[in-house]
Amino acid sequence: MKKLINTPEDVVDQALAGMIAAHPGYIRVEEPNIVVRMDAPRPGKVGVISGGGSGHEPMHGGFVGMGMLDAACPGAVFTSPVPDQMLAATKAVNGGAGVLHIVKNYTGDIMNFEIAAEMARDEGIEVTAVVIADDVAVKDSLYTAGRRGVGGTVLAEKIVGAAAEAGADIATVTALCQKVQDNVRSMGMALTSCTVPAAGKPTFELGDDEMEIGIGIHGEPGRTRMKLATADEITEMLAGPILDDLPFKAGDEVLAFVNGMGGTPLVELYIVFNKLAQICEARGVKITRSLVGNYITSLEMAGCSITLLKLDEELTKYWDAPVNTPALRWGV
């Protein structure tokens, strides 16, 4: 295992300490390991929090700040955080207008957030939750855990954070988050596995000429393993199911998000974006906003994911609104 770490046990703590040291104006860390916006709680503003296992940086801690999250709860690497964190975060950002939990659809995240929400409600805080489940690689069904929450989470946090910043009430903010979820679809692939620090070896082994299609963000193997293909072919394999699923139709305006899994350089992500733009154009789907880079990662995994969000005026407006976080910043 080759990593810039000290010991597996202190990865999360030291990375958090480094984050705070690098962005002293934006965020503070509170017990039990939560990242809180410097000026939280803001009276009258709906609080927006999220959380999940670590190893997906900059998500979620890097999205704490003006116009996005009020707090983030980082768990151990790939392990959903514990209710104590979500409860503390909920209390830390509660400005009296309620708190929205943005939850990625994993059994662990769901259960821990549920327990935290119950605890917070017991303390008199109004809590709503929206579950992001945008990964089309996973077949959806009443009888399974359902789709994973992946790239759509980043877009939801940005858009919902902007609405909360603008003063929208908890019902509006919650409905908006659900609207993002209803209009966003993603799919990912891996060229290499990642290595969980505490495990010390790659989660899965891939041949030199193999790749995994339909992976999540926790190094879990994908739906299918196949021979390595070209960037264009891979982009087709990801974009096709995404476009068909919603479905995205000719005339739709979309935000196109090409995300790196952590070990893939930007130059490759742009090659994917190039093909994605061609595919969208061929279908008459118009890319009006875009995001390219490492935003929701899986440690040092090489690979990418594609996320498309169908935009309307409201979503576009909140996407464009100012944001000032360690990882996303514009308009200020």
């Binding site: 392990t79 514990v82 969980v196 495990a199 739906r223």
Partner: protein, 214 residues
């Protein structure tokens, strides 16, 4: 220690033995989780049970209910993931059935296990056959209840329960997961043993090694 009932010290001994065994099995459980999950189940369980060890001395001697509930709360706040809330609920429900009791008879224990498992089902909404910890726990629960109802010695009933858990654990191998992280793999989840069923079997085995001993 008694062959007829479980005392406070037996439960303390169980937590100690379980923590020890989980530490040993840490790599194995994580390997199982690598194949169909995210390579953290061993780390999660080890972290949780090591944390439980720190609270054992703080529980008022004799209060079995407080012991289980306190351990459950500690698991909840240190494990995370899917297994954290599930094993928390398991412990918490067991603790509730033990309230007011200085010792647990074989029948009490069967009832406690039933409550704990019902809690896991309520929390996680999984069914038997979904390839989860329930596939080890439910056969164990049923074997224990059958033994106790038949009038078997609690130790024998528990031994049968462990045996049933082991069968259930092994029976998860061919299953296609419908719940938890392994479900994302679809058909590819078949052929691998469920990590949670494995840790559940380990916990039951540790019970057999500490409860109802002469």
């Amino acid at each position: 220690m008694s062959t007829a009932s479980i005392a406070f010290d037996d439960v303390v001994a169980w937590f100690n033995l379980a923590a020890e065994r989980l530490r040993e099995a840490r790599g194995y459980l994580t390997d199982l989780d690598s194949a169909i999950g995210d390579a953290d189940h061993g780390t999660n369980m080890d972290r949780g049970f090591q944390a439980v060890l720190t609270i054992l001395p703080t529980v008022p001697a004799g209060d079995i209910a407080a012991l289980y509930k306190g351990a459950g709360r500690k698991i909840l706040s240190t494990v995370g993931g899917a297994s954290g809330p599930l094993y928390y609920t398991f412990m918490d429900r067991i603790g509730k059935t033990a309230e007011g009791k200085a010792e647990l008879s074989g029948a009490d224990f069967a009832t406690a296990l039933e409550a704990g498992i019902a809690g896991i089902q309520e929390r996680g909404k999984a069914e038997p056959g979904d390839k989860t910890m329930l596939d080890a726990l439910i056969p164990a629960r049923d074997a224990l209840r059958a033994g106790i109802d038949r009038g078997a010695a609690p130790a024998d009933a528990l031994a049968a329960a462990v045996e049933a858990a082991e069968q259930g654990m092994l029976a998860t191998i061919p299953l296609v997961a419908r719940k938890g992280r392994a479900s994302y793999l679809g058909e590819r989840s078949a052929g691998h043993q469920d990590p949670g069923a494995t840790s559940s079997h380990l916990l039951l085995q540790a019970m057999a090694d500490t409860f109802f001993r002469p």
